[in-house]
Amino acid sequence: MSDALEVDGLVAGYGEVIALDDVHVSAEAGAITAVLGANGAGKTTLLRAISGMIKPRRGRVLLDGADMAGRSPEQMVRAGVAHVPEGQGVIAELTVEENLRIGMMSRRPNRAERSAALDESYERFRPLADRRRKLASTLSGGERQMLVIARALLARPRVLLLDEPSLGLAPRVMAQVMDLVVRLSREQGLTIVLVEQNARSALAVADHGLVLNLGRVVAAADAPTLAADVALRHHYLGF
């Protein structure tokens, strides 16, 4: 097994605060790696440091072996890393289709490629097709999450960073989103780093997992092992 994405000795923070301290992550190619931990453990910061939203102070971010630490988000997208931030990040003032077109801005496709890619998105995410001309603000929570994932996929990433995709969704919709995440990994071979507060549902779909606490990795193993570790669940995962 090879790692599509590897984070090595990463230190990052905001001002005086060190949010991540010497963090190691190995994300196996084509697998789902869950990043777990309580609020403020550094999960979101980890994704932000990988995608270039913040500059790491130290450490390496290896994408297929090449160190990408400190690159801008624009460069990371072009290198094949798509980051879906938390909070159903649609651009509410734009239409559904405009949101999707933004997803292709990193690739400069021609007109034919663009409409083919859009058709493919609508094919996979049928509810979006009916609403392509509607403002994204009119979508439900589940549809918004669908839209942001569809938008991220249009950048044709190899690595997908998902920050709390199930946050604020009804249980049934949440299950659909998780199901989608699994299919993206199994059917498309995407490497997925899944940040989740809800450890139980994340470990149910993930291949591997790691647990962050106060900016440090306290455990890293395959998902069943983590899920079976009663002490770990008790202390850090809350189930």
Partner: protein, 295 residues
């Protein structure tokens, strides 16, 4: 009645110039949450460039085109070279920097071109048009002013709506984080925004200067009017800017026209009065009510 019509029409023409300045302010505000206090100074400077070109070449249109191009270049330079340096600093820094830029441009214009009033030629006749024997208060040039701003505004609106570059600008304005994560080079988009704002300002400069004369401070009042128009429109809305500009232009025209000899001195005061009242009653502008707010 004829007088009323004349005041309304000539006010609307000036209003279009205020609308152009307001649009340039809105363009930068939406992209960066920054009010560009140097916008009037930039417009003044490009108008000086235009006047030099017109004197050298004898062609109004050469000056007109060069002014617009100079506006694009000056806007891009101001963003790249000066305003960019304030990114990530407190917002007040950027405000002070644009005020500094204004003072710099006005000082530079004084050194390069002198402080005396210079007349700027109009593109067309400024003799008032008549319907039958009745003067309607606007000239051929006034028609050109209104048409130029209107055409530019519509062209901008269409480009924003239907082109990829326009989509990048809107995405960046609404949500720079998502724009960056989608691979949009936000820094480059902001430079484009400033360049377009520079173009609008330059247009306003060449259109208004035949009526105001040109001197280093000549755009200060126009800037205040443009700012007021933008605030009436809510600072966010291009349509609001145009409506705000027209409203302000017409009201100021009535003030100047009906209040006799005191009128012309009162217009600036009335404009500031309107600005204060709008900020007190509807700080989000007159068009804010129906728009969606991000939560």
């Amino acid at each position: 009645m004829v007088e009323f019509l004349q005041f309304t029409l000539s006010g609307a023409v000036f209003g279009m110039v205020y609308a152009a300045i307001a649009l340039s302010l809105v363009l930068i505000w939406r992209g960066t949450r920054l009010l560009n206090y140097a916008q009037g100074g930039m417009a003044m400077f490009t108008t000086y460039v235009a006047i030099e070109v017109i004197y050298k070449t004898g062609s109004y249109w050469a000056g007109f085109v060069v002014a617009l191009a100079a506006g694009v270049v000056l806007g891009a330079i101001c963003e790249r070279g000066v305003v960019r340096l304030t990114t990530g600093k407190p917002p007040l820094n950027a405000v002070i920097v644009t005020i500094g830029l204004l003072i710099l441009l006005e000082g530079l214009a004084g050194i390069l071109y002198g402080g005396q009033y210079r007349s700027f030629p109009p593109a067309f006749s400024i003799i008032g048009l008549r319907v039958g024997h009745t003067p309607i208060g606007v000239s051929r040039f006034d028609v050109f002013v209104a048409a130029a701003v209107l055409v530019t505004t519509l062209a901008f609106a269409a480009a924003f709506r239907y082109t990829a570059a326009g989509l990048r600008l809107r995405a960046t304005a609404f949500n720079p984080t998502i724009a960056r994560l989608s691979g949009i080079r936000v820094a480059r988009v902001l430079t484009v925004g400033w360049a377009l704002a520079g173009l609008l300002g330059a247009l306003a400069g060449v259109l208004v200067s035949p009526s105001t004369f040109l001197y280093p401070n000549s755009m200060d009042t126009i800037f205040v009017y443009g700012f007021t128009a933008a605030v009436i429109g809510g600072l966010e809305s291009p349509v609001g800017s145009v409506v705000g500009g027209l409203l302000l232009g017409i009201v100021l025209s009535y003030v100047g026209g009906y209040l006799g000899s005191q009128g012309p001195d009162l217009t600036a005061l009335v404009a500031l009065g309107i600005l204060v009242v709008v900020l007190m009653i509807r700080p989000d502008g007159l068009f804010a009510g129906a728009r969606l707010r991000r939560v």
